[in-house]
Amino acid sequence: MTTTPEKAAAGEVERTDLVNVTIDGIQVAVPKDTLVIRAAEQVGVQVPRFCDHPLLAPVGACRQCLVDVPDAGNGRGFPKPQASCTLPVAEGMVVNTQATSPVADKAQQGVMEFLLINHPLDCPVCDKGGECPLQNQAMSNGRAESRFSGGDEGIAPAIKRTFPKPINLSPIVLLDRERCIVCQRCTRFADEIAGDPFIELLERGAQQQIGIAEDAPFLSYFSGNVIQICPVGALTSEAYRFRSRPFDLVSAPAVAEHDACGSAIRVDHRRGQVMRRLAGNDPEVNEEWITDKDRFAFTYAHLDDRITYPQVRDTDGNLRPASWPEAFAVAARGLAAAKDAGGVGVLTGGRLTAEDAYAYSKFARVALGTNDIDFRARPLSAEETSFLAAQVVLTTPGNGGVTYDDLESASKVVLVGLEPEDEAGAIFLRLRKAVLAGRTQVVALAPYTTRGLGKLSGRLVPTAPGDEPAAIRSLLEQSEYGIDSTAVVLVGERLATVPGALSAAAELAAKSGARLAWVPRRAGDRGAVEAGCLPNLLPGGRPVADAAARVDVATAWGVDALPEAEGRDADAIVAALAAGELGGLVVAGVDPLDTADPAATRAAIEGAGFVVALDLRSSEVTALADVVLPVAPVSDKSGSFVNWEGRLRPFEATLSNPSSLPDLRILSGIAEEMSLVSAAAPLGFRTVAEVRAEMAQLGPWDGVSTSSTTGAQPVEPSSSVEPVETTDGVDHLRLATWKQSLDNGRMQDGDKYLKATARPPVALVTRAVFDAHGPTITITGDRGSVTLPAAVADDLVDGVVWVPANSFGAGVLSDLASPGSRVRVEGGQA
């Protein structure tokens, strides 16, 4: 579990930096500064350890890894056994581990015996029993019998230290103090990795324990990692505690579906049910850490509102259960008719696997004969559409795309429209690692120094929403920011709402030589770009407008031709539905509340002639659909996500559930039926494997894009923003907002403990606004009004108010204001 990640493959190591050591009589060459405990792994010796963790700074606290060092490389030995987790190798060093040294073996057994005297014997009821490093290493490196005894023949019994059981460090993390061996892995993680040092050692000696301040629970978006790295059962999860035994679980590798980071996870399931999720170990992506959302938010797929069978709208207007063949046939006939009645739009949401996205892309072109397809279920712009085609699609780690490792080696990382702690946890942790190593400075264009930016020791370029283009230009104009070819610019999907911002970012990259990457929020966003779930792109980055590209795809798909005109984007599809220009809609995993105009989206779906909804759970969309088709959750299907780097993150199905069909299978069924009733062609695949093969065969576009490569025409930012108006004690402010990591998102449903760790919704205002309007404020925009507790953000840009986007009511877009609009702030009643 905690051995060295195999990051540095032998071939990558600089040969000149090798140090020769002899471990247990075996000579081995390891890179300079390697710790003895890792060098020993190279010769196949696992020195027992607890406090040591390859991703945490050495501490040498538990003393379990003591080894004998008869020669430190200078001809002299250490008189005492040394902790191999803190001792770097030296040329000529001789090390004898427990495998060959009786001294080391006895030292280790002695430490193990000490660890066990105060450790309870509750392994049979402990969550960790069966996967416990203490249990395992007590077997491999401990004494068979304890000498910590007594209690017979008039001898006083040996007394273990006890504590009342257990205490909550946070709503999701529980601590059984008597099990704790105070290795400090958790406190070091909180301090060194997450930057949320809300757990700390308290008391001393055998009473030493992990604790929190009375008024400050361990609230961190990454808190679950401490449960995983705890080498005993001291830290447990409220949701998983006492739920299962490790040896009853089946583990499967998977990829987290909550953000665009592509984090490797491990899914543990039992009898067809996911019991828990853990971080996978992928040194190139998420290392060994995941967010709490990735770890705990998986119950959404097993709630009562899960759709388990197809439904069609009956003549009485109600949805009724239907068989799959009937549903396919009804959907096919309806779509064929809608196609004739103006056409069918496709909204795919951002959560599809790349394979499913490919199926929608092909379905739109081949079955529906349209380029009216868009994955963006959120505010978007034509500028963004061009930007994705020009700057994003087809960039991968293999062809110069920005990677996690690049973040670590960049001199500067500029964040624009991106709050990594909330929106891309793995990026946040990697940036923090880079910053703490002293290599990287983070510069953020944001309205205030967020908690996340503070933890990155980042530099704020105070930027009100809408002012990003000018702020981006200022980075280029002012050399003090030092943006050059060693810098990386990360732009978030939120920038789509700011006219000119994405163009300015592209311009910044082009002129400074800095590298640019786009970081969306959802796991399927980037894969959808690659698969062509856009009105201007076909699969593999082929421009719709390019005749050669169309021929390329048409040939591969065995069809005569593909629609030539670029299609409608999501906003235009909604508008066209409302105007009656489109006859129908295929919609997958779209929540109207996420879209730029929730009411308009809702009305468009309601008014659409024919709607086929593919979804996991009942929603307001499925309630309005004519055909509802249940799709498999990610646990039930294989697939791939493409993360923000452009890295393919394939995974296999965790659970085998024959009634769960992936989207691509359903689309294939509908297309097949359509081919019988209309001129549509079938999709030619039924399984994920077939789609993967087809995608591989098609490959990326190798032609030169004929559309503008700089992101279409540079879009000029909207006219300069008018000054803040204050009339009658009412402030008219610009609204800054984004979604927090934990909020009211539907995929976090079902885990009340996780929900309890979300940051409570609060409106951030300047000191002046706070003083004027008090601790509770009412914010009113063009879509409604909301009253929230207010707090002061010290460096918030004047004229701005910040609220979380989806932490109250139905969210900002539905309940408060349209993107880019002004809001009024006044004192509110609590």
């Binding site: 050495p58 040498g60 030292a107 000490f114 050692l201």
Partner: protein
């Protein structure tokens, strides 16, 4: 034998209001400053090196050499930290020194800071001794007012600020890196070395940490010369030191004498062991040093002599125990202290002391068998040299040394089913009881 004493630090303890600046200056105090400022910093370091002064906090590392480890090309500020966290059971030299003559410490701090080019010095005083903290604070205040501290001291161009810091009641903070953690406002636990404090100590800057007595000895070295200092003591343990005698002696107290003096000589000065009793065992340097017995009365009390006898000079805290004392009971009390003071960072000390107390307590009650003695020794073997810092090592010293010299007494507890001693007999009021 009165000539055996060499009062330097203790010289003015009998002066009226000896702790005041006036009294100190009347005795020639703060005159070493100008002499030091007339020398180059490196010459001061050389003088301290040549004097042979070794750390008086117990480990005996050469003070001048420690100062020369400070990398002067490091652009970070340099710091001097005085370890005044005197907490070792039996050790009682720094606290009376700071009470009776705080200005000699302040003067030493100024000269030492000048030598290592530190413009900020910290005196970390054990938090429980509030009276001492106040006295040193007052002395520092007096020194500022007199121009001995602050900007451009004595017109030398040398600036120095001194901060008197109160500890929070942890024995571990006498360990120099734990002390630095405490000084930085963190939890007092020892740091991983390297980096050593000389390279990255307080606030990750080059730092010298010296004991109170070491620093207080510096003015006399500067004033009288290295040769004067080196003329006292033994070949490798030069100079004088405060020997504090406590326990069953007629006149307990601090006796300042050249290193190398013997306990026999000191006992003569102190009027001998309590009347009617014989010396049974003693610690040469506090409870963390293996105890010695009457056969070691003529061991020269210098680093080498005590080391050769199987113990350590430590802090010259001579605790004298006469024949009324149960060694098992005494060792148990010490072990309880270590259990209470273990910081918890490393397993052997944290868990080991917890277990040692239980094993010892059982033996004291006469429970168990002879094999438990071997268990006790094996536990010590698993702690000594396995713990993170020297506190764990120190916890084993009284146990293993007492079993070495008094195994039979341990066994007597087992055969008699309890302690053969009457603890009343070792008290100060023994023999004065009013019988009914």
């Amino acid at each position: 034998m009165t000539s055996t004493l060499t009062p330097v630090l203790t010289d003015m303890w009998d002066v009226d209001r000896s702790w005041t600046l006036a009294a100190y200056e009347a005795k020639g105090g703060y005159q070493a400053l100008d002499k030091a400022f007339g020398m180059s910093q490196d010459d001061v370091i050389t003088a301290v090196k040549d004097s042979g002064l070794r750390g008086r906090g117990g480990a005996g590392f050469p003070t001048g050499m420690k100062w020369s480890f400070i990398p002067q090309d490091n652009p970070k500020p340099k710091y001097l930290v005085v370890n005044a966290d005197e907490s070792e059971p039996g050790t009682c030299k720094d606290i009376p020194l700071m009470m009776a003559n705080p200005h000699v410490l302040v003067e030493g701090v100024i000269v030492s800071s000048y030598a290592i080019r530190a413009n900020k010095a910290f005196i970390y005083i054990r938090g429980e001794v509030l009276h001492v903290i106040r006295r040193v604070q007052a002395a520092v205040q007096e020194a500022y007012a007199a121009g001995h501290l602050g900007k451009n001291i004595h017109g030398s161009g040398f600036d120095l600020d001194v901060v008197v810091h109160a500890g929070a009641g942890a024995y571990i903070c006498g360990e120099e890196t734990a002390l630095l953690e405490g000084l930085e406002g963190r939890r007092g636990q020892p740091r991983l070395r390297p980096p050593f404090p000389a390279v990255a100590g307080l606030y990750a800057s080059p730092t010298v940490i010296n004991n109170v007595e070491s620093i207080a000895s510096v003015p006399s070295i500067v004033a009288n010369g290295a040769a004067w200092f080196a003329s006292m003591g033994t070949e490798k343990s030069k100079g004088y030191g405060i020997f504090s005698l406590s326990g069953h002696v007629q006149k307990p107290g601090q006796y300042e004498a050249p290193l190398g003096i013997t306990l026999r000589q000191l006992l003569e000065l102190a009027g001998g062991v309590r009347a009617g009793h014989d010396l049974k065992f003693w610690t040469p340097g506090g409870s963390s040093t293996p105890l010695l017995t009457a056969e070691h009365l003529d061991v020269p009390l210098d680093f080498e002599g005590v080391g050769a006898a199987g113990s350590m000079l430590g802090t010259r805290a001579l605790q004298i125990f006469d024949d009324s004392v149960c060694v098992v009971r005494a060792v148990l009390r010490w072990t309880e202290f270590y259990k209470h003071e273990s910081c918890g960072k490393c397993t052997p000390c944290r868990e080991g002391t917890w277990w040692l107390v239980q094993t010892l307590a059982r033996l004291e009650k006469g429970q168990g068998n002879e094999a438990d003695l071997d268990l006790l020794l094996d536990q010590c073997d698993n702690i000594l040299g396995r713990s993170f810092c020297a506190l764990g090592d120190g916890a084993t010293s009284p146990i293993s040394s007492s079993i070495q010299y008094f195994r039979d007494e341990y066994l007597a507890h087992l055969t008699q089913g309890g302690c053969p001693f009457d603890p009343e007999r070792s008290t100060a009021w023994a023999g004065q009881e009013v019988t009914a």
